[in-house]
Subunit: 727 residues, 2 copies
């Protein structure tokens, strides 16, 4: 009871101070309604835990004493990590003051910021400077933006309680020069249409609101020249597609999201008339939802440069989920927050924790989704096909997107597949060990360029052992696949796209479907990749699967005691060759075990085709690469080719209970028939039933197509159809 009473007094103290201070120090990022909600939310477990975490964090910083070292170290080093700790502590101290009114947090923030005021004005480019524009506190400007983004939010909360002379020093020697450095001082970065610039404009813009500096706000919103050709609003319009997809891909979408959502919240608080959350049909909130849907098992689809252990449980998304819940009331966000196990110390975090405490949580709707890429949604697409629900559901992801700038990979029409809680057909992600000093200082490894970005490291067509666009991002950036069709319901999950321009004179079209059948354990992936080249070419189709080989259907010639590499460049130098074979239609199968489930990949080898069983990790003297298995289908001297495959999850291996169920495929035949306007892929199942997938590149829904299969015409209407035949 005594505690509660003191708390009430503390609240009154805050309210008493605020009006007494000059009007322009009233907090602008969190209002009194929000602060009150935060105070109340301490009764909710998730918010209470966050409050306790922040208390412990600031208390540890106070015990350690103010440490504001002269910047020296690169990422992972002491000064880098200390300045990161400091902005977190400033952020937390602000939130704690807003909640408790305890002056100790004001004093702590003042002391730390005054220490920054001593060193900041004298800092030049960081000695370990990296990238075109080195930071001041950190090696990268980006990290300086992070610092300001968090620190200014903390400062907003304590500013009114500081003596004017301290405020003046802090603002003149830290916040204003920092905002100046990040804006006018780094014009190339600030005016980019890129997530690094979003961090800069968000930090500068919030600083503008807090310091009542309209000039900074306008530059942040409209670019340095305030014309609107750069700045936050342009970024919102350009960087997300209408479906809320961010062109660099899921990993960077997660990272980019925070400054977008965080700054949007500040704008909404200070200039609600802008309707920032309604802009472009509410694209920012769509982006939060899309970001969450770009995951499986809580981890992001590892497309482009992506660390594979990154997922929903990450700082950036705690904020985004809280803000999205507070703005939409969609209780699906509550279950995401429960999965994250975190709230944030903001009014939105308070609302989130209250919703959870009230038992309002519902499962988030992970869905099949066709996400247009590019500002108008027509620059390719990322297509997600899901079957089933829950942690073991299936997800097929077709990467039919545009390049996605410098972090993009050369992987047009590639795919990944999840089943049974695991990535079964995989994307390597980035070659990087973040912040591990012994691994090139923790930045992207040389193998990111020589392997991870190259086409052979993905599940898509390689022509003449060269990567798409010769791995030249400038050539790749303007070109995108042409989406042909997408459909997703329980009977038919299918996506198709065409790629022109990845190689001169080569067009390839890929149709992927995820189809169930009563005779099969669960839906199977059907893949039809058709290639047309204006010259005879060498065509390689890699499949990066995960698991241990159980059975190879065709005879192999094995490299058992010396192991050669597959090639010399474009990533081929990183591929060990275990064995090669000449599969035929009847025996072209590869069965592997992953977790407790079997997978059989069955393909239809074209005349003269070779199958190569391989593994990543050659030419890697520093052990920078993971070693993962690959199946490559190779066809030489071909002008036209159809790669047809089906991936079937089946059976169960239970080592603990010592039983094995259905370790053999239930598909006994795979055929392909080609007509003038379409194709039919036929699976024959163990009971004699047939499942036929008919597709046409003509998207017209009313057109009829006909293909002869075994001398019998089969007709269908529209771009795709499923024809089931009983035994």
């Amino acid at each position: 009871m005594h505690q509660r009473h003191s708390f009430a007094l503390a609240v009154l103290a805050v309210m008493a101070v605020a009006p007494a201070a000059r009007a322009d120090t009233v907090p602008v990022l969190v209002d009194e309604v929000g602060r009150s909600a935060m105070r109340d939310a301490r009764q909710n477990p998730l918010f209470a835990a966050e409050f306790a975490r922040a208390m412990a964090n600031v208390e540890a910083a106070r015990q350690a004493g103010i440490q504001v070292p002269v910047p020296k170290d690169p990422g992972g080093g002491y000064t880098h990590e200390q300045h990161k700790r400091n902005f977190r502590a400033l952020y937390d101290a602000g939130a704690l003051y807003a909640i408790t009114g305890d002056k100790v947090y004001v004093d702590f923030s003042r002391d730390m910021l005054l220490a920054y005021a001593k060193i900041y004005p004298g800092l030049g480019p960081h000695p370990a400077g990296r990238g075109e524009i080195p930071g001041r506190l950190f090696w990268q400007t980006l990290n300086d933006s992070n610092w300001l983004f968090y620190a200014i939010q903390g400062y907003d909360a304590v500013r009114a309680a500081m003596a004017e002379k301290d405020r003046k020093i802090i603002e003149d020697k830290v916040f204003r020069p920092m905002a100046r450095f990040l804006s006018d001082g780094s014009p190339r970065n600030f005016n980019l249409i890129h997530n690094h610039a979003t961090w800069a404009v968000a930090a500068v813009g919030m600083t503008g609101y807090v310091l009542r500096d309209r000039n900074l706000v306008d530059k942040a919103l409209l670019g340095l020249d305030k014309s609107g050709t750069a700045g936050f609003l342009k970024q919102v319009d350009q960087l997300f597609s209408p479906d809320g997809y961010y062109e660099e891909g899921p990993y960077y979408q997660r990272y980019a999201l925070l400054p977008f959502i965080g700054f949007a919240r500040a704008i909404d608080q200070n200039e609600p008339q802008r309707g920032i959350f309604q802009r472009r049909d509410g694209v920012l909130l769509k982006a939060v939802r899309t970001t969450i849907n770009l995951t499986y098992g809580g981890l992001f689809f590892p497309l482009n440069d992506a660390l594979k252990d990154k997922g929903l449980a990450t700082e950036e998304l705690y904020q985004a989920v809280a803000i999205a819940y507070a703005r939409t009331g969609d209780t699906g966000f509550l279950s995401v927050a429960q999965g994250q196990g975190r709230a944030v110390l903001t009014p939105d975090g308070a609302a989130l924790s209250a919703g959870i405490a009230a038992g309002k949580s519902t499962p988030f709707a992970f869905t099949s989704q066709n996400l247009g890429d590019g500002p108008d949604g027509t620059h390719g697409s990322l297509s997600i096909l899901r079957a089933g629900t829950g942690p073991k559901h299936q997800a097929l992801v077709a990467k039919n997107t545009a390049q996605g700038m410098g972090h993009g990979h050369f992987d047009k029409l590639s795919w990944i597949f999840y089943d049974n809680g695991a990535e079964v057909v995989a994307d390597y992600g980035a070659a990087r060990f973040l912040n591990i000093e012994s691994k090139a200082g923790g930045i992207y490894l040389p193998e990111n360029k020589s392997w991870a970005k190259q086409t052979i490291a993905h599940n898509t067509l390689v022509v003449d052992e060269a990567s798409h666009f010769d791995a030249d991002v400038k050539r790749a950036q303007p070109v995108a696949p042409t989406p042909l069709f997408f459909h997703a319901d329980d009977d038919m999950r299918i996506v198709s796209a065409r790629m022109d321009g990845a190689y001169p004179g080569v067009t390839f079209t890929r149709t992927m479907a995820l189809l169930g059948h009563a005779e099969l354990d669960r839906p199977v992936v059907i893949d039809l990749l058709k290639v047309a080249s204006d010259r005879p070419a060498k065509l390689d189709l890699p499949l990066h699967y995960r698991g241990h080989i159980m059975d190879v259907g065709f005879p192999l010639s094995s490299n058992t005691d010396t192991r050669p590499v597959l090639g010399t460049a474009s990533g081929y130098q990183h591929v060990w060759v275990d064995a090669t074979g000449k599969p035929e239609a009847g025996n072209a199968t590869l069965t592997w075990l992953l977790g407790d489930r079997f997978y059989t990949y069955r393909f239809l080898p074209q005349a003269g085709a070779t199958a190569i069983l391989a593994e990543s990790g050659a030419n890697d003297p520093k052990f920078n690469l993971r070693r993962e298995p690959i199946l490559v289908q190779r066809l030489e001297g071909a002008k036209a080719a159809s790669f047809v495959g089906v991936l079937e999850p089946h059976g169960e291996y239970n080592g603990a209970a010592e039983f094995t169920l259905r370790g053999r495929t239930r598909i006994t035949g795979l055929t392909h028939a080609e007509g003038t306007t379409g194709d039919i892929v036929t699976l024959t199942l163990t009971n004699g039933a047939r499942l036929r997938l008919a597709v046409s590149a003509d998207p017209a829904r009313e057109t009829w197509h006909e293909v002869n299969v075994d001398g019998r015409p089969i007709r269908w209407q529209g771009p795709f159809a499923r024809v089931d035949e009983k035994p």
Copy 2:
């Protein structure tokens, strides 16, 4: 309410039937007190779930109709799996009848057993017969023993409720001939001192009790000639060491345990005067406790032929844990059962589930333990050193045991190490995919002999590229290491043993310690392996670690584009060589990342030593092997050598939160000094502190030893001491 009422009537029905039946059909394996406890236990969730599972199982079998096929298929095939399903169904039906008194279970059992009566008398050796004595129902006699073991228990419960003519057919045509086949019909198997024989004697002995056939019981207890030179009692005396260690190792200990404990329970029920659970100071219950302590993270130490996914959650142990709890009342068993998530449908399972429901569960005491091997405990030892508690604790296991018969590996003085919930220094276990038809029919693979059993596949000394005892089990079986000392408390966890006879003219002594220090994140493993040979020899010391290499301290010569193998025989043919180097004292380190933790292995290379970075998987055209990394220290032409190493877990990698802590070792120096009667290994830590481990092969506690270190004498008393020096 109606349900409860019918249930009470059903109970009365059982009680009414039992006295009416002839006296010699009263159930002998479970008495009325036990049945009553089982009926009551249905209110406890764990028992209720087991009850429901059994109901569903029998109901499914009833729906499918009685299926008793003529035996044909090997393990994994239809007839094999069907006969397994049948004995489970017979067992469950008996338990369900004991609980519910529902005649449907009697009818089901009768119908199935009458179907067996039709085929069994006509069966010869199984057509897919395997091993020296093929079974009748199954390919192996062992499986026939399993069938009888379960089926006779089920039959005991329903026997009294069957018509006499049915009983006569079933007993004359199934149980008696089966018991005859497994005893007099298979004398070599029955009289073995081996777990296969334990299954046979347990099945035959229980059949004897149920059929009131004293002759069968006596043969089971005392061997076919009833002399006591074979049979169950001899097995109890011979197969477990006084500490309850089973010579084949943890994996087979688990498997062997069930017939021991199950038959012991039957003996105790029928001949309590034998005091079977008190025999040899209660060795059978000790064996249950020891079996549980032979695990980490719920999985068995994968020593000898072992499947690595096998652990506590397995049928055999559900029974053993229940019986041990019922006999001892040790509430630590309750937490094991909770981890298993299972009970059993017996009076012991009833007691277990009641204990859990009453909240009596306490953590099982996983401890450091020195387990003597062999019938009198002097034939080597298995030594477990544990530091910390809970799922992330550390465990160092020194395999100083004897050979362990046909499933033993040639791995004298090898070790494994667990930390942070994972196997860090690993044992390959068996090369086998149990029950997977495409992998050699699911039996042990050829690579089990050519790789998994060989010395190079373990973490111990290989001389001249040959395995211990030239991989000859007959030579290996009589020889065991000599344990020197073992000690385990918070300051000092240490074990030492000497091996003579693994190679002619070669003696090696290994001392391993797990020591903590305030300057270190957590305890480190110190390893001192001393070799004396009567001729110059090539000495290899492999380290099978798990994780991804982060840093190699010494220069490497890498096989980047063709990869050779290490050798041609004794497992060397399965080792790919990635790189070799010539480390020196100052740079002999290898750092890897496993999960979220770093590990640095630092060693002290002897003059001329080579380090080989390698991987398993060469000469494996069928992809039967896992590919796992190895560090081999090699010294050529040596007569005496000391291999000194320290393994240090350190730091944290957090990919989700993007930070790395202490990615570098905190040990800056490792030295070794040798005296006439002892050795000192010294670690120098980052703050300048020194941790010295002094050891002597002389086990006398009062003897003083002295070794000069850097010109300064250091003295200690007894076989080991720890000398800490401040910075």
